[in-house]
Amino acid sequence: MSKLYVVRDARSAVRVLDGEAMVMSGRDSTLFSLNKTATIIWQAADGQTSLDEIVGSQVCQEYDVEYASALQDAENMARELAGHGILQISEQPISQARTLAGESR
């Protein structure tokens, strides 16, 4: 399976309350509420760290979950959020030329 890289969409608005992110799409103002696991992935989505690294080094460290199943869930979530335009996914590292949503937090 090839690696997947994820990066937050720069036009999204985001704030994390009590470990859970609320994200508003910059494309159509749709509001999303991410659970704690999805928030960890969202915050780590810098375009340079692959999703398997994020899951291995952060999700599995935080929760007692089986790696393969967590990675599958993370990929499904990333593709769903990409469909809504609040996350970009690529099989190559993604340039950080643009400011990432939430990077400064």
Partner: protein, 369 residues
């Protein structure tokens, strides 16, 4: 079923976080609207550094929606610097502007920075009426041009159409204009007293006749019968409910750093030049007093027929003299909507009747003397 936004609001309330904050960047303005409640002189606005420092604090606290308003926001030369900084902090940003300074270049910059909504005030679709309110010839044309520039960039624009006696008959024209421009329109019959307490400007507000027309207009209220229905008396849970979000999940910061529960609630609770925002939000006695008020505490309103459907504004009530009292403008709206006078209006009528009687006695005495 509650919406996601309601869920988030409930969470913010539980965590005591202001989800939404409005900052007026300046009270200076390039229009001179006849109904405006602001003092447009600059009495020492926050500097760029003070504002960016405040934005850092708001982001840290958890503020999500940031409304930048004025005065006219583009009167500040550092407006785009502030906006860029706010976006870097990933706020969901709403702008309120008259838009007369927005041309293609500004619209493109706003798009690049990522703004959720831009609200533009339009008083009439007729230049002579709109410009008669702003006292700036050509202002309608410039505002409408700006709306076109903004929408051509894919930005979401909302027209705010305050209803006043001189413009009332034109609200259908503004609706048609909004339709032509492909933007939403909101109407608001509320006129706010001047900041110095002068209530003379309220004479521009529409009366019962006009309010009734508004509330019978399906294009504004949807199902008229449903909208105008008289509500059931408040139950126990409703009596324990909060009057509005002011001071609970929203607040307002003036260009001078003063923090208030809401833009329409001029109760000073602290100043961010003197103490951190979070200390004001959490520990200000006045903010906590506002927060403590429940429907059951509001004299007259808690027993009123309209208790559960009234749009009572605690800020307007405060400006009338009692934040635990009724807001007469909203009593008038409830009356116009249902045909049933509010408890406050009934009590005023009774006291007015008393006054007439008392005043008539000396006249009678004089005549008979």
């Amino acid at each position: 079923m509650i919406s996601l936004m309601e869920e988030i609001e409930a969470k913010a309330l539980k965590l005591n976080i202001p989800l939404s904050v409005q900052i007026d960047l300046t009270y200076r303005c390039n229009e001179h609207c006849v109904h405006c409640y602001l003092d447009h002189e600059d009495h020492g606005e926050m500097t760029t550094v003070e504002i960016t420092n405040l934005l850092d604090q708001l982001a840290e606290v958890g503020v999500f929606v940031l409304t930048l308003s004025g005065g006219e926001i583009l009167m500040r030369k550092d407006f785009f610097e502030i906006l860029a900084y706010a976006r870097k902090l990933t706020f969901c940003i709403k702008l309120k502007t008259n838009a007369v300074m927005i041309r293609e270049r500004e619209a493109a910059r706003i798009r690049d920075l990522g703004v959720e909504t831009i609200q533009v005030s339009i008083y009439s679709h007729r230049p002579e009426v709109h410009d008669g309110i702003t006292l700036v010839p050509g202002s309608l044309r410039r505002s409408v041009d700006a709306i076109r520039f903004l929408t051509s960039q894919g930005l979401k624009v909302t027209i705010a159409n305050p209803l006043m006696l001189p413009t009332f008959q034109d609200y259908p024209g503004v609706q048609a204009l909004a339709n032509e421009l492909g933007v939403e329109v909101t109407i608001d019959p509320t006129i706010t007293p001047m900041m110095d307490g002068d209530r003379g400007v309220l004479s521009l507000g529409i009366g019962q006749k006009e309010l009734r027309q508004v509330f019978a207009d399906e294009s504004l209220v949807g199902n008229v019968e449903e909208f105008c229905a008289i509500s059931a008396p408040p139950g126990e849970s409703e009596l324990e409910s909060k009057p509005c979000s002011a001071g609970h999940s929203t607040c307002y910061v003036s260009p001078y750093g003063d923090v208030y529960p809401c833009v329409q609630f001029p109760l000073p609770t602290g100043n961010v030049r003197q103490q951190p925002f979070i200390d004001i939000w959490r520990h200000s006695e006045r903010m906590n007093e506002v927060r403590s008020i429940r429907l059951k505490d509001i004299s007259g309103c808690s027993q009123c027929t309209h208790a559960t459907t009234c749009t009572r504004c605690p800020g307007l009530a405060y400006m009338e003299g009692n934040m635990r009292g009724p807001s007469s403008q909203d009593c008038e709206k409830s009356f116009a909507r249902t045909g049933v006078p509010s408890a406050n209006l009934l009590s005023k009528k009774l006291s007015m009747a008393g006054l007439v009687q008392i005043r008539s006695i000396p006249v009678m005495s004089a005549a008979s003397a």
